[in-house]
Amino acid sequence: MAHIPDGVLSAPVLIAGAAVSLAGCGYALRRLDEERIPEVAILAAVFFVASLVHFPVGPTSVHLILNGLTGILLGWAAFPAIAVALLLQAVLFGFGGLVVLGVNIMNMAIPAVLCCYLFQAVAGNGANRQRVLWGAGLAGGLGVLLTAIMVAAVLTLSGREFFAAAKLVVVAHVPVALIEAAFSVAVIGLLSRVKPSLLGFQA
């Protein structure tokens, strides 16, 4: 549900979203060393594949957004990675629109970058395993919730009549946030044991 289709949002919101995403991607690409492109691409591909996994919840199923984890592992590079993933989802599956791409990138990438800083603050140097796991859970859950809140915000800013739907979007994402928090704890728990250097920790 993080893919807003075209035609819903108002022009000022679309322009602001495109500007923020362009600036974010530009800044991230300038910081990105060419030698790191394969690494960023392969992590982006993992998240693309993992976000297609559907978890059963009652009669329906949900899929994860994974922007918290993407943020933890990629930092600012999450901006172009998410841009590539969303462009591919639009072209391969028809999820989300083209003009609205900027807003969709913004909604997922800003929480990702925030989660990166949050994780670094909570986990510290990785010496305390409990803190690492807490950081992972918080980043995983908050990544989803912040995205849902941003989706709700851009909907409401586009028209008061979307307010009811916007509230529904946030509520619908609470179970996703819980699953994603548990999922992130497992992923980061494993990585901190097997390959701590990936998280920037000393082995």
Binding site: P5, V8, E35, V46, S61, L73, G94, V99, A165, V194
Partner: protein, 272 residues
């Protein structure tokens, strides 16, 4: 060969055609139609401009016309009706929820009422327009962009002077999605063989978390090998093949000219 056994029908099918397209197995398809013979860069540009115009339309007549044009484009690109309908349905599942609430939350002249709640004509009109715009864009993406091999899209972006690093990131990601999709399926089969089933509990989330964590570890090691191999071949930040573009032909010019005409026409009809 879907990416995951648990996916819902629509995503499952999409995952399929995505995987096939990524594997590049389309090269055997030599029935190139007119849309496919147009330069990828021009197609990307035309698609973006068309979508921009469509989003700014505000009359039902113009939007219906745009829907017709998009449908024609899908037919011209020889995309199957099934794919088109599936994509429209995938979109509308989420949109219907949002749109269904619009008539009741938009103030205006009452049209009908459900359980005592009045629905306004303005809300219904707004909902219909959004539905039309969203579907026109999805169809046009299907016609102009999905009809090319995704790797060509990278070339198109290169032609339109998008940053080189972004294009490279796009191409590499595309490649690895295919590789990792296979690896993911292999690991899932191993879990299934040990009796793992997707449920709604902590065990499921943790197990799939470990699976993805393992995928990350393996793939990061793979990326280290890739960088080493690329350095060995003198990679200096560009691919020579990426910068070699065929010169534009009369088809490209004709297609671009006709598209500009269509966009102008739509804008004249539909933007007040």
């Amino acid at each position: 060969m879907s990416l995951a056994g648990e996916q819902t029908g629509a995503v499952n099918e999409c995952g399929c055609d995505g995987a096939v397209a990524l594997a590049g197995s389309r090269s055997g398809d030599d029935r190139r139609n007119f849309v496919q013979s147009v330069d990828p860069g021009i197609r990307l540009l035309v698609c973006a401009v068309f979508c921009l115009v469509v989003v700014s339309l505000n009359s039902l007549a113009a939007l219906s016309l745009a829907l017709g044009i998009a449908a024609l484009a899908v037919a011209a690109a020889r995309q199957s009706l099934g794919t088109a309908l599936r994509r429209m349905a995938a979109l509308d599942g989420f949109m219907l929820m949002v749109l269904a609430m619009l008539p009741f939350s938009t103030p205006g002249e009452p049209l009908f009422s459900v359980a005592g709640l009045p629905a306004s004509r303005e809300g219904a009109l707004l909902g219909t327009m959004i539905l039309l715009k969203a579907n026109v864009v999805v169809l046009m993406i299907l016609a102009l962009l999905s009809s090319m091999e995704p790797a060509l899209l990278g070339r198109a972006m290169n032609r339109l002077r998008l940053p080189n690093k972004f294009v490279l990131l796009f191409l590499f990601t595309l490649r690895y999605i295919d590789v990792l999709g296979r690896e993911y399926r292999r690991l899932r089969v191993a879990m299934k063989a040990r009796g793992f089933r997707m449920r709604c509990d902590l065990h499921t989330w943790r197990s799939v978390g470990y699976l993805v964590g393992m995928l990350l570890v393996r793939s990061i090691e793979r990326s280290e090998r890739i960088v080493a191999a690329m350095r060995c071949r003198g990679f200096n930040g560009t691919f020579p093949a990426l910068t070699e573009n065929a010169p534009l032909s009369w088809r490209d010019g004709a297609f671009a000219g006709a598209s500009v005409g269509v966009c102008l026409g739509l804008a004249l009809v539909g933007i007040q």
